[in-house]
């Protein structure tokens, strides 16, 4: 579904991605972890072309992301993305946030889009918040709306860029539960996160990144039982001690 081959990127002289190679198969959940500044967010934003890369190739469902001839908007419409800071549209209600791209990108009628949005908002536990604006919602609620917004496009895969990092601790679980339910439904997911509990419960494989490199690409059980690199071991020791 997602194939990343030998992708590199630098900002000026700073290399942020060095020869990254990884793949996410259909229905698989891959967690990307690593210390801050390791290139995780850059890598996941390369997958839907939000951040251009310098060399290598990324193919999503057979379509080359870096190819100039690729219709990136059409490709992005098939991949959902959830951001660290939610990025709901503040001038619209929850319902409008979820309906907007359905209407303007998928060309659904407003009625059709709103029906779908209501179903999705109910699915993420926000059936009573349709008319609320983002500033009237808690962080956890906003992030659930943003998951519904991504799901409204009937995506073939979902990208999560640190979806719980900006949340107060008591709201982390409500978002992780929604993501876990998605994974159980068979959604293809690539998730950048520090939530190792989520990785242990849900992930098929774990990618460990440091210094712009993918140091480990290991099945979940093996990663947590005996990580093969020192840096992964140190990282796990730090994040698992809390």
């Amino acid at each position: 579904m997602i194939e990343i081959s030998d992708v590199s990127k630098s900002y000026g002289r700073t290399a942020v991605l060095r020869g990254c190679t990884a793949a996410v198969k259909r229905g698989e959940v891959v967690v990307v972890c690593g210390p801050s500044g390791s290139g995780k967010s850059t890598l996941i934003k390369c997958v839907n072309g939000l951040v251009p890369f310098d060399s290598g190739a990324i193919r999503v469902d057979g379509v080359s992301v870096g190819d100039k001839a690729t219709d990136l908007p059409a490709l992005r419409a098939r991949i959902g993305m959830v951001f660290q800071n939610f990025e709901l549209y503040p001038h619209m209600t929850a319902l409008q946030n979820v309906s907007l791209a359905q209407i303007h990108v998928l060309k659904r009628s407003r009625t059709e889009a709103d029906t779908k949005s209501r179903q999705l908002l109910a699915r993420v536990g926000l059936a009573d918040k349709l008319a609320s604006r983002p500033d009237q919602l808690s962080g956890g609620q906003q992030q659930r709306v943003s998951i519904a917004r991504a799901l409204a496009m009937d995506p073939q895969a979902m990208l999560f860029d640190e979806p719980t990092s900006a949340l107060d601790p008591e709201m982390v679980n409500e978002v992780l539960e929604v993501m876990q339910a998605l994974a159980l439904d068979g959604m293809t997911m690539m998730v950048v996160t520090h939530e190792m509990g989520f990785a242990q419960r849900v992930a098929d494989r774990v990618l460990f990144m440091d210094g712009g490199e993918i140091l480990e690409d290991t099945p979940k059980a093996a990663f947590f039982a005996h990580p093969s690199t020192d840096r992964a071991r140190q990282f796990l020791a730090k994040v698992l001690s809390h």
């Binding site: 934003k45 839907n48 939000l50 908007p73 059409a74 490709l75 992005r76 419409a77 098939r78 991949i79 959902g80 993305m81 951001f83 800071n85 990025e87 709901l88 549209y89 503040p90 001038h91 619209m92 907007l100 791209a101 303007h104 990108v105 998928l106 604006r133 943003s146 917004r149 991504a150 496009m153």
Partner: protein, 218 residues
């Protein structure tokens, strides 16, 4: 107190209204023309092509460094020279106001667009929207909302600045009142009414913005 003659305000109302009409015309033309040209300048400044962005940046910097009175004078003498025939004080004042205000509107528009977080654009792009849709549906409306107070502030400044057209012998509201004050020796009455009128108009305008900002968007 009997030495005051407040009736003069009513007697001179038509003359003052005439001045107010000129002030209003200047505000409307300066705002409409300045906004259109300001949008063009803002788009040029945002451009990655330096032959567009550099002249626009230069224009804005120069215009913002000059006092409006100078620009008024300049166009009063320059526009007839360029056209080879006299154009009159009003036309040259209108041109000067539009060209001067465009530089300020350009910066307000740029600030408005810059106030929308980059993440908003990324989120909209991630749902498959095209750049033009992102601007029309997400960035534009938020930028406009951020701009409204600044735009209104600028319009109030333009309104107050219309009094400068006396330098090219035009009679705006303030100048008209000043003429009556000098002619009839009634400065207290005339300048009091001028102050009240300016205050009422500018105060209601800023109240209107406050109300606008409290009402949630559509």
């Amino acid at each position: 107190m009997s030495s005051f003659d407040w009736g003069i305000i009513w007697r001179e109302a038509p003359f003052l209204a005439h001045g107010m009409a000129l002030s209003a015309l200047l505000v409307v033309v300066a705002t409409a023309g300045g906004l259109v040209l300001g949008v063009v300048l803002a788009l040029m400044r945002q451009s990655s092509r330096s032959w567009l962005s550099v002249p626009a940046a230069g224009y804005v910097t120069v215009m913002r460094s000059l006092p409006l009175v100078l620009v008024l004078f300049w166009f009063y003498f320059l526009v007839p020279l360029a056209l080879g025939r006299p154009v009159g004080a009003l036309a040259s004042a209108l041109v000067a106001f539009v060209l001067f205000e465009a530089a300020f509107y350009c910066e307000i528009i740029r600030a408005g667009i810059a106030s929308v977080r980059a993440g908003q654009t990324q989120a909209a792009l991630a749902t498959g929207m095209r750049q033009s849709q992102v601007f029309r549906l997400i960035v534009g409306p938020q930028a406009l909302r951020a701009m409204v107070p600044l735009l209104l502030n600028q319009i109030i400044i333009v309104f107050q600045d219309t009094s400068l057209v006396y330098v090219v012998a035009l009679r705006d509201f303030m100048t008209s009142a000043s003429i009556v004050a000098d002619r009839d020796g009634r400065p207290t009455e005339m300048y009091t009414i001028v102050a009240i009128v300016y205050f009422v108009i500018c105060f209601s305008a800023s109240k209107a913005v406050e109300i606008y900002q409290r009402v949630p968007a559509r």
